[in-house]
C-alpha cells in the first residue's frame, strides 16, 4: 500500500517537473498497481534462496487476481520461473532451499509456505515448459491427479475426463482414442493434455511455466487460445519469455528483473504506458 502512495507522489512530481504525464520516471524504481476485484493470493515480501546460497527472489510482493491471467515477464535469469515454482513448492523437491515471506492463499488467508508441500500441490496445479505426460494412456493422464486424491469412481472419472479435455480444447481431437498412449500425440496436443490433467482437479491456481516454449507456432496459437478461454474461469499465473504472448493472453503483467519485481500493472498499461523506466527499456527492446 505504502509503495502505491509513494508512486502516486512520484507521478505528481514528474508531472510537475517535465509536464509530460504518463512518461515513466527515471527515478521510479518500482510501481505496483492495486487491482480491483477479488484476489486469489497475495505474495508478501517473498524471498527465496537456492541450496548453494544464491538468492533468486528478492522481496517480491504482488497480488494474484481471482480468475484472471497474470503474466510474469523479464529477461532470462530474472527469477520469474523460480518465483512461479514457489507457488506450488516445487523447489522443496531439492534439498537445502530456503523461503522467507509469505504467499497467502485467499480467501482462507493461509500462507502456503507453511503448509504441507504435497497439500499445496493439490491446490495449486502446474504445467511445465516441456510437455511431460506420463507414459500411459490419454485417459490415465487426465485422471492421474484424481487417482492421487483417492477418487476412483468410474462415472466421476469419465465425466471429469470429458469436461477437462473439452476445457483444454482437446476433446474433439482425442475422444476416439482415449486409451491410446499419450506419447503418441503431437507435442502441442501433449501440452494441452498436461493442461487438461492440471484442470481435472480444479486447481485454485494454475501455474504455467513457459508452456509454449517447446511448441511450434500453430500449436502455440492453440494453447494461447485455450489460455484466453480459461480467463474468467481459472486463476492463471504464466511465465513467458515472449512479451507479445504476455500482451495477447494476460490481464495483468508483472515485470521482474534480477529477482526483484519492478512493475506490476494492468497488461495494457504496462505495455503502453509503463510506469518505470526499466520496464520501458525492456519492452521497447533497449534492454534484455
Amino acid at each position: 500500500m505504502s509503495t502505491d502512495q509513494t508512486s502516486t507522489i512520484q507521478i505528481s512530481q514528474s508531472a510537475h517537473q517535465g509536464g509530460q504525464a504518463g512518461k515513466p520516471s527515471e527515478t521510479r524504481e518500482h510501481w505496483y498497481l492495486e487491482p480491483d476485484g477479488a484476489l486469489r493470493a497475495r505474495v508478501s515480501n517473498l524471498k527465496f534462496w537456492y541450496a548453494d546460497g544464491t538468492q533468486a527472489i528478492d522481496d517480491v510482493s504482488m497480488p494474484l487476481v481471482d480468475k484472471k491471467v497474470t503474466a510474469l515477464i523479464g529477461p532470462s535469469g530474472c527469477g520469474k520461473s523460480t518465483f512461479l515454482r514457489c507457488f506450488n513448492r516445487m523447489h522443496d523437491l531439492y534439498q537445502g532451499v530456503k523461503y522467507s515471506g509469505s504467499i497467502n492463499l485467499l480467501p482462507e488467508d493461509e500462507n502456503l509456505i507453511d503448509l504441507d508441500a504435497n497439500i499445496v500441490r493439490m491446490r495449486v496445479g502446474m504445467v511445465f515448459q516441456k510437455p511431460n505426460p506420463f507414459p500411459k494412456s490419454i485417459y490415465e493422464n487426465v485422471i492421474a491427479g484424481l487417482k492421487i486424491r483417492g477418487i476412483r469412481k468410474r462415472e466421476v472419472l469419465d465425466e471429469i475426463v470429458e469436461t477437462s479435455l473439452r476445457q483444454a480444447a482437446l476433446w474433439d481431437e482425442v475422444k476416439d482414442r482415449l486409451h491410446q498412449p499419450a506419447l503418441s500425440m503431437s507435442g502441442g496436443q501433449q501440452q494441452r493434455l498436461c493442461i487438461a490433467r492440471a484442470l481435472a482437479v480444479k486447481p485454485e491456481i494454475l501455474l504455467l511455466d513457459e508452456p509454449t516454449s517447446a511448441l511450434d507456432p500453430i500449436a502455440t496459437a492453440k494453447v494461447e487460445d485455450l489460455i484466453n478461454e480459461l480467463s474468467g474461469n481459472v486463476t492463471v499465473l504464466i511465465v513467458t519469455h515472449n512479451m507479445q504472448q504476455a500482451a495477447r493472453i494476460s490481464n495483468y503483467t508483472a515485470y521482474m528483473y534480477l529477482g526483484k519485481l519492478i512493475e506490476y500493472n494492468d497488461t495494457n498499461d504496462l505495455f503502453q504506458r509503463p510506469k518505470c523506466q526499466r520496464t520501458e527499456d525492456y519492452i521497447t527492446g533497449r534492454f534484455g
Binding site: 506450488n88 516445487m90 523437491l93 534439498q95 504435497n118 497439500i119 500441490r121 493439490m122 491446490r123 496445479g125 502446474m126 511445465f128 516441456k130 511431460n132 505426460p133 506420463f134 507414459p135 492421474a144 491427479g145 487417482k147 492421487i148 486424491r149 498436461c194 490433467r197 492440471a198 482437479v201
Partner: protein, 310 residues
C-alpha cells in the same frame, strides 16, 4: 606480420603430418578391433571346447535325468539342475525385493546425512567383496552360529546377499535414468513420495530393474565359491522334497532345509576327479551351465534393448 606467419606455416609439412596422424588412427582402431577379436574368440573357444568335449554326454537325454554316479559316463545332472532352480528361487525371493527396496530408499527417501553416506560406501564396497568372503560369512553365521546346515535355504541366502549390491545399483541407475520431468509431473499434481514412486517411478524403472535382477541371478547361478565354503557336496543322489503336492495345504517348505547340489558345484566336483572320462561329464555340465547363464544374460540384454527402443 604477414611474412612472419608465412614463415611459421612454411615450416610445416602438412601432408606428412596428416599421413602420420591417419596411420596412428588406423593403427589404434585396428588394435581395438584386435582386442575385441581376442575377447570374442575366447568366448567362442570356451563354448566350443565345452560343447565338443562334452558332446557324448549333453546330447544324451539320460544326462538330464540321472543322478551323479561313480561311473563317469552314467553320471547325470538331475540333482544339480533341480538344486540350482530351488536355490535360485530363494535367491530371487530374497534379493530382488530387498535390493529394490534399498535402492528406492537411497534414491527417493534418503536425506543427505551420515547414514546415507554410510549406506552408499557400504554398497559400493559390498559389490567388490570377493564371493568367497560371503561364503565365510554364511559358514560362520548361518551354519555355525545359527546351526542351519548345508541347506537350500542357506545357499539361497548367501547368493542373495552376494547379488544384493547388483540389484541395488541397477535399481538406483534405472530410477536415476528417469527424466526429471516425470518426477516433477507427479509431484506437481500433488502426489506424495510413495504415490510418485509406486505409481510412476517404479513402472518407468521396471525394465531396468528386471534387467539388473536377471544379471544378478545369472551371476548367482554360476557362482561356486561361496557354496563350496558352506560345505555343499557334489555327490547328491536325491532330490529335495517337492514344494508342491502332498497333504493339505499342498505347499511344503521342507525343501528349504534339504541338502542339495547345484550346477557349478557339480561341474567343479567332476573337474577335480582324476579319471579322464569325468572331463567329458564336466565339459557337458559346463556347456549346460554356460547356456543357462548366457540365456539369462541374453534375456536381460534383450529386455533393456526393447525398453530403450520404446
Amino acid at each position: 606480420m604477414n611474412t612472419m606467419s608465412t614463415n611459421i606455416q612454411s615450416g610445416i609439412d602438412y601432408a606428412s603430418i596428416s599421413r602420420k596422424n591417419r596411420s596412428w588412427d588406423i593403427i589404434f582402431a585396428s588394435l581395438g578391433i584386435v582386442v575385441l577379436f581376442i575377447a570374442i574368440s575366447t568366448l567362442l573357444a570356451l563354448f566350443l571346447d565345452l560343447a565338443i568335449r562334452g558332446a557324448p554326454q549333453w546330447t544324451n537325454p539320460d544326462f538330464y535325468t540321472s543322478f551323479p554316479s561313480r561311473k563317469p559316463l552314467e553320471a547325470g545332472i538331475l540333482s544339480a539342475w533341480v538344486g540350482t532352480i530351488m536355490v535360485m528361487l530363494v535367491t530371487a525371493i530374497v534379493a530382488v525385493p530387498l535390493g529394490v527396496a534399498a535402492g528406492l530408499y537411497m534414491e527417493e527417501y534418503a536425506d543427505k546425512n551420515w547414514f546415507t553416506d554410510v549406506i552408499e560406501i557400504n554398497v559400493s564396497n559390498l559389490a567388490g567383496v570377493p564371493s568367497i568372503v560371503y561364503g565365510l560369512l554364511a559358514l560362520g553365521l548361518f551354519v555355525q552360529t545359527f546351526g542351519m546346515g548345508e541347506t537350500v535355504l542357506v545357499a539361497g541366502l548367501v547368493l542373495a546377499l552376494m547379488i544384493l549390491p547388483i540389484v541395488i545399483v541397477s535399481t538406483r541407475e534405472s530410477i536415476r535414468a528417469i527424466p526429471i520431468e516425470l518426477r516433477e509431473a507427479a509431484y506437481g499434481l500433488g502426489a506424495n513420495q510413495w504415490q510418485t514412486m509406486a505409481m510412476y517411478m517404479l513402472p518407468a524403472a521396471k525394465p531396468g530393474i528386471i534387467t539388473g535382477a536377471i544379471v544378478g541371478l545369472s551371476r548367482a547361478i554360476g557362482e561356486t565359491a561361496p557354496i563350496i565354503t558352506i560345505g555343499a557336496l557334489s555327490y547328491i543322489a536325491f532330490l529335495p522334497p517337492s514344494p508342491i503336492g502332498g497333504d493339505f495345504p499342498f505347499i511344503s517348505f521342507e525343501w528349504l532345509n534339504s541338502g542339495f547340489t547345484v550346477m557349478p558345484i557339480q561341474m567343479f566336483g567332476w573337474v577335480s576327479r582324476p579319471q579322464a572320462d569325468f572331463q567329458i561329464t564336466a565339459a557337458a555340465a559346463g556347456a549346460v551351465l554356460i547356456v543357462m547363464t548366457l540365456a539369462m544374460n541374453g534375456l536381460a540384454i534383450y529386455i533393456r534393448y526393447r525398453a530403450r527402443k520404446s
